[in-house]
Structures are given as C-alpha cells and as structure tokens.
C-alpha cells in the first residue's frame, strides 16, 4: 500500500512550521518528494547487497532484513514481461468507447467513466443480458499485422460481476477469427496472450462476453492493446520503463520451463562465438545489453520461442495535486489537496517517516536552515540505526 502524498506533506509542513523555519510550497514539495523517493528507492539495492554480504539473515517471520527489503521492492517488480516493440493499438477507455461497435444486441456495451470507485480508471463494460446469446464488441480500427511476426494482446480486467461470465478475445482478419484467448474463470488483473500472425493484412479485435444466461453478468476492461514483440525491447511497452533489468528467460516451443539467459558483455560474445563449446545455443543462450531499453539475444530466437524478462520499474512520479480556493469562494488561498489529480508515493507504508525526514532535510537546504537539516538528518540516522543494528 502506498504512502499518501497529502499525509507526508502535512507532516512536513507541521514539523517545519513548528520549528518556525518557513513554509514549503507544493511546488517545492513535489520536487523534494521525488528526490527523496528516488534516494530511498535506490538505497534498497545497496542495502540488499550489504545484508547479503554481511549477514546470513534470520528465520523470524517478519523481521528478516532481506525479506523486509524484498517486500519493499515487491510493488516495483514486473515479472514475465514479453520483449515488446511498438504498440500498434491502445485504448485505455478513459474518455469514451466510440472506437468500438457492438457485434450483436444480446446485451449492452457501455463506457464506465473514471471515478474514485475505479481508481480513476475508465473502462469498457460488456454486459450480457438478453436472447440467451453471447454479446461482443469489436474495435473499428484496423491494425496491420505481418505473417510470421509475434504479437501480444494485453488487457486489464478492472471489474467483474459477482458471478463472473466467461469471455474471449478474438483477433480477426476478413471476418475469420485467426487467434483467440478464452477463459471461463475470469479474474481481476492484467492479462495477455501472444500469437504469431498467420496472415499479413489488417486485423481487428473483438472482446466477447461468452455468457448466455441473461443474468446480467459483465466484465469491465480497463485497457487493451496490441503490440509487436521484437525480442529486443525491454520494459512492458507501456508506462513501466526498466529501472533495473532482472532475469531474461527463453522458452523454446514445447519446452516445459524457460531457460535463464545470462548477460554477457559485447566483447565477450566474440570470445564465446569462436569456442565450439561455449558458443550460445537456444539451450544455452546469452544476451548483450545494447541500449537503455534494448537487448540483443544470441542466437536469434525463432518465431515460436517465447522470451520474457523480469525488471524493476521506476516508482511513479509523486505529485501533490491541489486547488486554490479564493477567499471570495470561502477558501483561505492555501493549496487544498486534490486527490483526483495527485499521485501517491509508491513506496512501502513503513517508509513514511523516512520520507518525512528526508524531505525535511532537503527542505532545510532550500530554506537555508541548517538547524532543520541537522534535526532531520539526526532523526533519519536514528531511524536507520534502529533498523540496521
């Protein structure tokens, strides 16, 4: 669970003002908050190394430092993400669903507006309620796919009826379903399926509620997209960029489990290639990091191989959203917290105190108040000592 940005801001203001050391504006706070968050986040990796090197940990249920640190990093871990290239089509259903057309009248497809109840994530609600037939909705946009290339369809289910309906996602070309994903046991969360296009040309998607009970069962899709998988681009193809790249995995067609792909330096690959025993094969592949978001696999994967990777994403940028209510409208000219336009800290709840002290320390520099720096630094150091000693 994240740390509320307003809670941190109010504490920072309270401590700073208590010491009569000055006021920190929301603009300054936003800058300092991000710096503090980044600093705490980066420190996790060095702490893990330190605890790995020096301590063997303990067997307690909640107090093993390595477990605690892993728990703090857990929200930023993205596992088994495909190596995706360009996003060919994305619809987040935030504004409307006008790019979609119902394929039959056995229910209703409606737009769900962003609201606090859905975490301000709009969606497409597909309801089956009539004629004992399935109800589907098809996108109007055509997406050009090339035969033999790998693609991924990924989507978020943000709401389902208490009795969940089965649903399917079809990739169509010329009114023929070429690739399909079906489930009879839907759940909330992000899902995806990959396929190799068997024809070249324009394709489109249909999301179909395959229930036929007329019992008003529905699913709400938060976002759907089609991406080309190029086996070279790391990240999840969306907003989650790679902060630290973890394991890369290679699963050959027919293989039950993937093989770990180790990182080698570009100069090493030449050495490996000339050795018949160390030369990379699909059983023992390697990769070279070629750019911030690119890797090069050796050997080149076949179209039926599945390459995935784990990575740590960067924490979202914190933002204290506010509105200024003028006195003429009953306000006091002070910034009033606007939850809808704010982004909370993604760090673990236990980091709230550290965040407050770190921001105060930075605020002391901005306000040129050495006393504030000293107090905040002392508090932070004490907290660190309590945690680590």
């Amino acid at each position: 669970m994240a740390v509320n940005v307003d809670s941190v801001y109010q504490k920072v203001l309270a401590i700073a003002n208590k010491e009569q050391r000055g006021y920190i504006t929301p603009l300054e706070f936003n800058l300092l908050a991000n710096q503090a968050q980044d600093s705490i986040f980066e420190q996790y990796f060095y702490d893990i190394k330190q605890w790995n090197d020096q301590q063997s940990g303990n067997s307690t249920e909640y107090s093993d430092m390595l477990t605690i640190l892993e728990e703090k990093i857990a929200p930023f871990k993205i596992n088994d993400a495909a190596l995706t290239g360009t996003a060919l089509f994305t619809d987040d259903f935030e504004a409307d669903i006008t790019d979609w057309t119902a394929t039959n009248g056995n229910g209703a497809s409606t737009h769900v507006a962003p609201a606090a109840s859905n975490n301000y994530n709009g969606g497409l609600k597909i309801l089956q309620s009539a004629n004992s037939q399935q109800h589907g909705i098809e996108m109007d946009t055509n997406v050009a796919l090339t035969a033999g290339k790998k693609y991924a369809v990924s989507w978020d289910i943000i709401d389902i009826s208490s009795t969940a309906p089965a649903y399917s996602i079809y990739v169509y070309r010329s009114a023929v379903a070429r690739h399909v994903y079906s489930t009879i046991d839907p759940a909330l969360g992000s899902l995806s399926f990959t396929f190799i296009a068997d024809t070249t040309g324009n394709h489109n998607l249909e999301i179909r509620n395959t229930d036929s009970s007329d019992s008003s069962r529905y699913i709400t899709v938060g976002e759907i997209k089609i991406e080309e998988i190029d086996d070279a681009t790391i990240g999840d193809g969306g907003t989650n960029t790679v902060y630290r790249l973890g394991e890369v995995m290679w699963q050959r067609s027919g293989q039950a489990y993937p093989t770990q792909v180790p990182l080698v330096n570009a100069n090493e690959i030449t050495k490996y290639n000339v050795s018949p025993l160390a030369r990379p094969t699909s059983s023992n592949p390697v990769y070279v990091r070629t750019a911030t978001n690119k890797i090069q696999l050796y050997p080149t994967p076949s179209s039926t191989d599945t390459i995935t990777h784990n990575f740590i994403k960067k924490p979202a940028e914190v933002y204290f959203g506010y509105v200024l209510v003028p006195q003429s409208q009953g306000g006091n000219e002070y910034p009033l917290y606007d939850a809808a336009n704010s982004v909370d800290f993604e760090l673990h709840q236990s980091e709230e105190n550290t965040l407050v002290y770190k921001i105060l320390e930075l605020a002391g520099i901005v306000l040129n108040k050495p006393g504030l720096i000293q107090i905040a630094a002392g508090e932070e150091q004490q907290l660190t000592q309590e945690e680590k000693v």
Binding site: T259, Q260, N284, V286
Partner: protein, 295 residues
C-alpha cells in the same frame, strides 16, 4: 514430486523413447548445477552460464573417453576397395569385429607392420628424389594411394588353416616357422586406421564381409546424445565444480584441492558402477578357474 509423475506407464510403453530414465540430459545437469552450486551462500558465488555449459561439455567429453559405457557401433560391409570412412563422430575405436554367418563376432586386430603413409609423387632415382609440383603452388603433388597401401591391399591372406604344421601357409607370416606370435595366430583379418585421411583399411580377406566398428565419441555430436548416465551424474557435478574453482582467481587452494579429490573419487565411483560387474556373472566366470585347458 517423483521424476516420473508427468508420464504415465501407458504413455511410456506406447511412446517411442524407451530406457531414457537411466540418463539425465546435459541441460538438466547444467540447470541443476546452477541451482545447487552457484549462489550467494554457495561454494561458487557467481559464474556465467556459458562457462558452466563449457565445463559441462568438457566433463562429458572426459567421461565419455574412459568412464561411460561404449554405446556406439557401426555395422559396415567392407567394399571392394577395402576402405571404409570413419563415422562422423568417431574419436577412437573400442574394437573391430567381423561377423560370421552365425552372427558371431570374430575380433580383428590392427596391423602393426603396415601403414598408409603420405606418398609424394617423385621422379629420379632413389637417393635423388625430385618431388613434383605441377601446379607450381609450392605444394608437392601426392600419390592417390601410397605404394605401401597398394601392396597391402593387393596381398592375400590364406584363410584356410588346413596345415597342422609350419609349412608354406604360415611361412609368409612373421614368426610362422619358428614359433608363431600369438597375436598373429588367427586368420580373422586385420585393419589399419588412417587418422589423417579418416578411413579404415581392411585386409583383403575381409572384402564383402560385414564388420562392426565399436567406437567411442565425445557425446557432443547431437543434442540427443548429450546426456549423462545417472551413475555418473555426481561425477559431472564434481567435475564442473572443480573445473570452475580451479580456473577462477582468488579461490583458496584448499577448496580447489578438496574438489579435485571429490571429482577424482566420484569419477572412480562412476566408473565402478558403470563397469557393470554382477555377482552371478563373475561367479560363473570364476568357476572356470579350475579348468586346466582353456581356449
């Protein structure tokens, strides 16, 4: 949990791969080595998988040469040229046998008194050699076959041991008249392996006969044969561990020495297990110890 859990008995017997349970694939050996020997709290803190794969393949080669059972054999009908090409993955032979009409093996022995040397074309008298370089490229021209091989190829071996005493049949064979050397006291035939040209030469009495070449490879020819008998699995892990520790910098020497001993011991144990000595069989053989005249 069991290793067979994913395969039912009916699937096994109706399938095409039988007897594979005795082996562990090299891939699995590498995966399991990475799991059990490499990590923060392990003997080897960090090693790249390609290096483990390299040492695993080297280990497989080494064990193939002197520990694993010889499983490769090649049945060939000796052509009129009396020459057969070596198998693609040949490393060395275990034995060559001719097969008689009953399918019984008759062991062939390598000839020690002939060979197939490289023979440059030359002009001029002996002692005044002039090698020929017709193309003028600096490389002297060679005869297609050496005179030695031609002579050996054209010779005949009498395969009818009708004489019960030293007469002309064995006169031609070394030691024939004055006490035959036991290694030549057979008429099965002989062979010569020319490693340079990658072929086996047979004596002329073997022309048209079926011979079997039992040979060893290094087990790296194809993915399917990259496997280790379970008796030797531990030897593989210990070999890889020792190879990595011995080539890594700043590894305490006692650790290298420990794994050297362990690798040696596990290899010896694997060899013992794979030598396939069964009590009943060896008892039966030893029963012959009281028989004075053996053949």
């Amino acid at each position: 949990m069991g290793l067979l859990d994913n395969q039912t008995q009916s699937t096994y017997y109706s399938g095409s791969e039988h007897g594979t349970y005795q082996f562990t694939s090299l891939q699995t050996v590498i995966d399991q080595f990475m799991l059990a020997y490499v990590g923060d709290d392990k003997i080897i803190k960090k090693v790249k998988r390609p290096e483990v794969a390299y040492h695993a393949q080297r280990g497989l080669q080494e064990l193939s040469f002197d520990t694993f059972k010889c499983t490769k054999s090649h049945e060939i009908e000796v052509p009129a040229t009396l020459t057969v090409t070596l198998p693609q993955d040949y490393v060395n032979y275990v034995k060559l046998v001719a097969v008689d009409a009953s399918g019984i093996h008759q062991v062939l022995y390598p000839t020690q008194y002939s060979s197939d040397p490289t023979a440059p074309l030359q002009t001029g008298a002996i002692g005044n050699e002039n090698f020929i370089d017709a193309a003028g490229d600096g490389d002297i021209d060679l005869q297609t076959e050496s005179d030695t091989w031609d002579a050996y190829n054209n010779g005949t071996v009498d395969t009818l041991p009708t004489d019960g005493h030293d007469t002309n049949t064995y006169d031609e064979l070394i030691g024939g008249r004055y006490g035959i050397d036991p290694q030549f006291a057979q008429t099965n035939g002989s062979f010569y392996i020319n490693d340079l040209k990658g072929r086996i030469h047979f004596s002329s009495n073997l022309g048209g006969k079926t011979v079997i070449l039992k040979y060893i490879s290094d087990s790296l020819g194809t993915d399917a044969e990259m496997q280790v008998h379970k008796f030797a699995e531990e030897a593989m892990y210990k070999y890889i561990a020792h190879a990595i520790l011995a080539t890594k910098a700043e590894v305490p020497e006692y650790l290298v020495a420990r794994f050297k001993k362990e690798a040696f011991a596990s290899k010896r144990q694997a060899k013992l297990r794979l030598s396939n000595i069964k009590l009943e069989e060896i008892t039966q053989i030893l029963r012959g110890k009281s028989k004075h005249i053996k053949h």
